[in-house]
Amino acid sequence: MNAPILSIKNLCAGYRGTEALHDVSFDVQPGSYIGICGPNGSGKSTLVKVILGLLPPTRGEVALLGTQQTAFRDWQRIGYLPQGLQFFNPHFPATVKEVVRLGRLAGKRFPKRFDREDALAVERTMEWMGISHIKGCMIGELSGGLRQRALLARALVNEPALLVMDEPTTALDPETRESFYRLIYEMNREKQVTVLLVTHDTATIGEYASHLLYLDKRVMFYGSFDDFCGSEEMTGVFGEHAQHLVCHRH
């Protein structure tokens, strides 16, 4: 077995005294596709924030690519796609190309300047994502689906080893959502990018992800979908019908 790309041990985290995650431990192997599900308030987004260094844990350890997160500096190897931008301004005057290029800042040293290699990576990623034709368009003028595709290109422009996504399809219509999931699946298969996808879409994730991490402040289940489907403990939690709906493969 390879060294885990992400290793979490006895992690506790929360906000102002309220614990959102309790004693969470799991490893993610390179090339896997993990669907992270759980009810509202189960700590899914908190887990993402801790992994990305946006929220310090109250206890426990997070290691990214074999390095303790507090000492981790290779952020160009981690891609992140949020549900939407934190305070998205539809009039923000940035073109798609400018936004995708921002992803290349990760890992650059002071003073951060873009070079020819960056320009080539940006062009290559936009072509791969099928957004070259809109590279001069303003990000705020795009549809939700195209905007998420542009932000995905930003997350992938460094060809990261790990892609973390927090409910990236929430604002998308079912058709766009489906094609988005397919794109992530192909990327995971073809480029061996490890994927961590937080989603409420338990009925769809089973079609694409290799593993399921079910959170409810603690890890309720972590394993393959086959294991999930055969787990009597999960039958007790979800009921047989819901368990098979999530699995999608039996």
């Binding site: 990305l52 260094g53 946006l54 500096r73 952020w75 160009q76 981690i78 992140y80 949020p82 931008l85 934190q86 305070f87 998205f88 301004n89 009039h91 923000f92 005057p93 940035a94 073109t95 400018e98 936004v99 921002l102 992803g103 800042l105 990760a106 890992g107 650059k108 002071f110 003073p111 951060k112 300047r113 873009f114 001069g136 303003m138 930003r154």
Partner: protein, 268 residues
């Protein structure tokens, strides 16, 4: 008109300040921090009063108030980050403190009210060679700061959370932005006066944002609008013998209106 030394100095000094205000204005407006210029200008009022208490004038006064305004800009940032209050409230607190200190000192010390209030409305036509030298120095420092941190500033303005996940220390970048703004506000005090500094930070930026396609284009566009409006404003003020600061602001408003109308027409 250009044969007058004071006009040459006014046009040069005004253009330097216009470039800085416009470039920083784009970042501030997009971060919804437009009114930080207003807050810092009020702090400048208090700082000028303190400097005058020590009988400092001209270049020495400008140099003396720089650290006070810079410290206040960091104060606004720290208040917003640590005191669980929104940025606008933090600006309001520091701004009110600046005005209160200015008024109190003017009242207690007496004798410099006329000088102090002349800073409220500025007078670029009276800029001295020494002040122009300081303006050129601060211009170089601020523009270099923007150039060096440009990509980090852009990334944190676009989305702070995404910037953090790219390994950008956004707290440090926010600090850099407010410090550069503080230096610019001190410079702009002479051009449009304390009362109208925020207009020079906001108007060229919002005019550029009406028409620009792309972030770099917005920055360049704002700088061009800023310089043009300051040059035209100083010229009109000289020819028509009207207050310079107010003329610059009114011309900026006309440009904003035209850019706003142009946006509406081209969108149809």
């Amino acid at each position: 008109m250009l044969s007058y030394g004071f006009m040459q100095r006014a046009l040069l000094g005004g253009s330097l300040v216009a470039i800085l205000c416009s470039v920083l204005g784009v970042f501030l407006v997009l971060r919804r921090l437009s009114l930080i210029g207003d807050g810092l200008s009020h702090v400048t009022f208090g700082s000028v009063a303190i400097a005058m208490l020590f009988r400092l004038q001209s270049v020495y006064l400008m140099l003396a108030i720089v650290p006070l305004v810079m410290a206040s800009s960091l104060g606004i940032l720290k208040l917003a980050q640590r005191a669980r209050i929104y940025g606008d409230a933090a600006i309001g607190i520091v701004s009110a403190l600046g005005i209160a200190v200015g008024v109190m000192l003017a009242s207690v010390a007496g004798g410099f009210n006329v000088d102090l209030f002349s800073y409220l409305f500025g007078n670029i036509l009276s800029i001295s060679a020494g002040e122009l030298g300081i303006a050129a120095l601060l211009f170089t420092v601020v523009l270099l700061g923007v150039a060096v941190f440009y990509n980090d500033l852009f990334a944190s303005t676009f989305d702070e959370e995404l910037a953090k996940t790219s390994g950008i220390d956004t707290e440090r970048i926010n600090g850099v932005l407010v410090l550069l703004t503080a230096l610019t506000v001190v410079l702009a005090m002479k051009v449009v006066g304390i009362m109208l500094i925020s207009a020079l930070l906001i108007l060229p930026a919002v005019s550029a944002l009406q028409i620009a396609k792309g972030f770099k284009t917005a920055i360049v566009c704002a700088a061009v609008i800023g310089v043009l409006t300051v040059v035209v404003g100083i010229t009109v003020s000289f020819l028509a013998n009207v207050p310079t600061g107010a003329t610059i602001v009114l011309i900026n408003f006309v440009v904003f209106f035209l850019a706003f109308a142009a946006r509406g027409i081209f969108r149809r």
